[in-house]
């Protein structure tokens, strides 16, 4: 197993940082403007559940196995009360792992060489009273008696092949980064509008990045 070097934690790339900041600012602006509109609606305001979930990449590293860089990562995934409520109400949750391979360039902006998204679907089946964790990329699925074990299983990534070393330029320096997020893409459109404003549905870890050892 190749050794890994931890480079930085919680220090995302500038471009993405900017875009995230913009998105955040935009959200707060839209929230402020439309708050009056929401007030006009006859829906009763719900009391926010106290539990705030969070996604965090605890550690991540790649190791080369037979010329393929494989990911080893530990994630901490805690669902918010709203997401948990939705899950237990039969709403499947989609959790994405975004993985990016970035070529570091000295004078030019860094180049995104490859990106991989691994999508998991977490579902509660009331009949069997088990949580089903489905890898939508591979189609594999496992069932778990508890949510904890399902999330724990999901948060323990071992030997996930990321990229063939032959595809990378020899001599170039590469950086990798990983994040996990709760995707609301699969929900009906009206719900997505609503979830867009709710922080409990904005579960997304910071980018965790490290240098690719070759």
């Amino acid at each position: 197993m190749a050794s890994t070097t931890h480079v930085s934690r919680g220090r995302p790339d500038n471009d993405n940082n900017m875009s995230e900041q913009r998105a955040s600012a935009l959200k707060s602006l839209l929230l402020t403007v439309l708050s009056s509109a929401v007030v006009l609606t006859p829906v009763r305001a719900q009391i926010e559940p106290p539990q705030e979930g969070f996604f965090d990449v605890r550690s991540a590293a790649t190791a080369m196995e037979a010329g393929v860089h494989e990911l080893e990562a530990r994630l901490q995934l805690i669902l918010s009360a709203e997401a948990l409520d939705a899950l237990n109400s039969g709403v499947p949750l989609t959790i994405e792992l975004n993985l990016e391979v970035i070529r570091v360039r000295r004078f030019l902006p860094d180049d995104l060489e490859a990106e991989l998204t691994v999508t998991y679907e977490l579902e509660y089946r009331p009949l069997s009273q088990r949580y089903i964790l489905r890898n939508l990329n591979s189609g594999d699925q496992d069932s778990f008696a508890t949510l904890y074990s399902a999330l724990n299983n999901l948060g323990r990534i071992q030997g996930l092949p990321v990229i063939d070393d032959a595809l990378l330029e020899p001599g170039s320096v590469y950086r990798m980064r990983l994040r996990a997020l709760l995707s609301t893409r699969q929900y009906p459109a009206p719900l997505r509008i609503l979830f867009f404003w709710r922080s409990q549905w904005q579960l997304q870890s910071d980018w965790y990045q490290w240098n690719l050892e070759r």
Binding site: A23, L26, L29, L30, V33, L34, A37, V38, L40, T41, P42, V43, Q46, D85, A86, S89, G90, V91, Y124, R125, P126, L127, S128, Q129, R130, I132, G139, D140, Q141, D142, S143, F144, A145, S149, N152, N153, T184, R185, P188, A189, P190, L191, R192, I193, L194, F195, F196
Partner: protein, 743 residues
């Protein structure tokens, strides 16, 4: 003007962008709210567009509202109408929108609520419970089967294990049975799948539970959509935990049972999901509807502003145009907005201002013509030697020309607007003039003609006077105009001409017989004096002497007449007045008549241009006249002064001869220059008449008056040179005739 157009264009573009954004946003919102794979990426943009539309419209509305309020408070024309129209439009647009909004909200809420039913929910719960119970039995059976398999494999040798395992799997109906040692390594496996398939791995959950010596059983959905029962039990000698492995068996559910379980599971899940999503869906639809409402509301209010502005703009233009016309700006033209009634109104307004403008142009043209005519008239009046005085009906002076002032000896030009009788106070000539005029006016005579004789200190003036009514106009009421001419000089000239004619005839008719009379008398005397007695001779001598003497006197008189009538041509030369005066005065001083003659001349008296012979005669006549006047006076004194002065704006030589004699008779001062007017016993009465004639031939002026301290004074002003004479001829009435005569 330009910046206002740019501002308006900018607001228009902003408004168009706002409305465009709203439409795009509404369209996208409608599209994406139904379904769209790209919504996740697009919905931020869509919301941004919506919000931008709302912000733009809101900003425009605030600006418009602020302007409307400001205009309303400042009473800007059209603002009240605009406010009313905006209110009306907003009311028309907002009320239906709010009604639609209310019913839409109700529809959404109730529509979503109708999806749910308590009985359905209870049925689903029951179905789930029932399914669970049924499956629980299956799980228990399968677990027992697995335990049984484990027991049967206890005493099987490792070599026989595979065969026994396959046999038991087939007997039990399991899909896969695998055996793991205490290190979780696989020892044996039997599967109904084709060779080469990998055994299922042991999950943490299975390991944890079995290692605690508890059997594991679970119902797992398969990837193919069915269900399987997974079981795991300890395998080996239970008394030696360190040697115990795990036996895991998977039992597929019968297809029909699996399908039914799946239906129950998915129906229950779907229903629960819908229940969960009920409120968020309501909220999401409400939010969308609210955004749409806000956009529509703001857009319609803004539309109300635009519409009312467009409707009111021509009216505001019209008000501004009317005000401009009221202030006298007839060149105002308004843009014609449309062909409707307002367009017709504005077109009529433009026609009106055009006509007003051309009417004003014509009026100012005719006014200019009138002004020009008036100016011409004033010039003519100023140049007229005839006096013209226009009076209001209340005898205030409306206008008067220069000649009127000169004739009446009052500066009437600068007294315009004053009451004529007031102006006349202290002015003897004007007083007499006003008296005559008032007699006619009091008798309501507005058209009259009369010759007036005015008596002044320096003589009398004869005026021919005509009065007529002056028609009134918008500035003035009806009045009178009095036109008068100073015919004194004319009359004098006529009189002089008559006297000249008389003189010529006398000279001719009288002088001729005088010589024979004289000769006859002398012959008679010479012939008969010696023949007669002394007494008779004395009588004859006295008689013939008297005849001869009287004939001589008569001849002298006739010669004087002749001189008066036949003046030689004037001969202008440059000579020293100072020297001439001294010569003449010295001649009279030498006669030692007992009268003192004082002479006073300016030291800087220049040479003058005049007829030296006539000037000498003037001096002789004046001094002799004074000497004759002082005949019976002791301490008689004559003062002669010659000085340079300015009169009628030209340089004149002023000659004053004064004495301390009896002076003129008070009543005849004005006639002293007429022929045969004398106060002296011996005078011919022609001396001063000749002097006046000579002075007038030089275009000069002569005045006679009695001195306050006693005696007479005669003042003569003669132009010092030819240029001054020319000017005085133009300024003095009556002199032009003299000039013509001279020419």
């Amino acid at each position: 003007m330009e910046s206002r157009t740019i501002k308006r264009a900018a607001i228009g573009i902003l408004g168009a962008i706002g409305v465009g954004l709203v439409l795009v946003a509404l369209f996208l919102l409608g599209q994406t709210a139904q379904n769209s794979a790209e919504f996740d990426r697009a919905h931020i943009v869509i919301l941004l567009i919506n919000v931008a539309g709302v912000v733009v419209l809101f900003a425009l509305l605030v600006g418009n509202l602020a302007r409307l309020l400001r205009d309303y408070r400042n009473n800007v024309p059209g603002s009240k109408l605009k406010a009313r129209m905006v209110g009306m439009f907003v009311g028309l647009a907002v009320l239906p929108l709010l009604v639609v909004f209310y019913f839409s909200m109700q529809f959404i809420n109730r529509g979503i609520d109708t999806w749910f039913n308590v009985e359905v929910e209870a049925g689903l719960d029951d179905a789930l419970e029932l399914s669970r119970a049924a499956l629980e039995m299956q799980k228990r059976d399968r677990l027992e089967t697995t335990v049984h398999i484990s027991d049967r494999l206890q005493n099987v040798s490792a070599r026989q294990l595979i065969f026994e395992l396959s046999k038991l799997r087939r007997e039990s109906g399991a899909g896969e049975i695998s055996v793991y040692d205490r290190n979780n390594r696989i020892i044996a496996m039997s599967s109904d799948q084709s060779a080469g398939s990998l055994p299922r791995r042991l999950t943490d959950e299975v390991l944890l539970q079995v290692r605690q010596n508890r059997p594991f059983v679970s119902l797992d959905p398969t990837q193919r959509g069915g269900y399987e029962i997974r079981t795991a039990v300890p395998f080996g000698d239970v008394n030696r935990p360190d040697l115990v492995g795990i036996l895991q068996a998977h039992y597929p559910m019968p297809e029909r049972l699996g399908s039914m379980a799946n239906n129950v599971d998915s129906s229950y899940s779907d229903y629960k999901r819908m229940v969960y999503l009920r409120e968020p869906l309501k909220r999401a639809f409400s939010l969308t509807l609210t955004v749409v409402l806000m956009l529509s509301l703001l857009a319609s209010i803004y539309g109300a502003f635009i519409l009312s502005r467009r409707l009111v703009a021509p009216i505001q233009d019209l008000v501004a145009g009317t005000r401009a016309v009221a202030k006298g700006d007839f060149d105002t033209r308004l843009p014609t907005p449309s062909r409707d009634e307002i367009g017709f109104l504005i077109s009529s307004f433009n026609d009106m201002t055009q006509r007003l403008s051309s009417a004003r142009r014509e009026a100012s043209l005719s006014q200019a013509l009138v002004e020009a005519e008036r100016a011409n008239l004033e010039v003519i009046l100023a140049r007229l030697s005839t006096g013209v005085v226009a009076l209001e009906s209340d005898l205030r002076i409306r206008t008067a020309n220069q000649a009127s002032g000169a004739i009446l000896n009052v500066d009437l030009e600068n007294r315009i607007g004053e009451f004529l009788p007031d102006v006349a106070k202290g002015q003897p000539l004007l007083e007499q003039f006003v008296d005559v005029a008032q007699v006619h006016l009091n008798a309501n005579e507005t058209e009259w003609r009369e010759q007036i004789v005015l008596r002044g200190e320096v003589g009398r003036r004869v005026l021919t006077c005509a009065c007529t009514t002056l028609p009134g106009d918008e500035d003035h009421a009806a009045g009178f105009v009095v036109v008068f001419d100073d015919i004194t000089a004319l009359l004098q000239a006529q009189r002089d001409a008559a006297w000249g004619e008389v003189a010529r005839r006398l000279a001719h008719e009288i002088k001729n017989p005088l010589t024979p009379i004289q000769l006859s008398a002398e012959r008679m005397r010479r012939k008969y004096l010696k023949t007669l007695t002394d007494e008779d001779a004395r009588v004859l001598d006295r008689a013939t002497h008297t005849i001869v003497q009287q004939v001589e006197a008569m001849k002298e008189m006739v010669n004087a007449f002749s001189d008066y009538a036949r003046a030689p041509d004037i001969d202008i030369n440059l000579f020293s007045m100072d020297k001439l005066v001294h010569e003449v005065v010295d001649l009279y001083r030498a006669q030692e008549s007992g009268i003192e003659i004082a002479l006073k001349t300016d030291s800087d008296l220049p040479k003058v241009e005049a007829d030296v012979g006539r000037i000498r005669q003037i001096l002789h006549n004046l001094i002799r006249n004074s000497i004759e006047a002082l005949d019976n006076t002791t301490d008689g004194c004559i003062e002669v002064s010659v000085s340079l002065a300015e009169a009628y704006e030209v340089e004149v030589v002023k000659i004053v001869v004064a004495d301390n004699g009896p002076g003129f008779h008070t009543g005849s001062v004005s006639q002293v220059f007429d022929p045969y007017v004398t106060t002296k016993p011996k005078g011919t009465g022609l001396g001063l008449a000749i002097v006046k004639k000579l002075v007038e031939e030089h275009a000069g002026t002569i005045e006679a008056e009695n001195r306050k301290e006693g005696g007479a004074e005669i003042r003569i002003e003669l132009p010092a040179n030819e240029a001054a004479r020319e000017i005085m001829i133009t300024k003095l009435p009556g002199r032009a005739e003299i000039r013509r005569e001279r020419a």
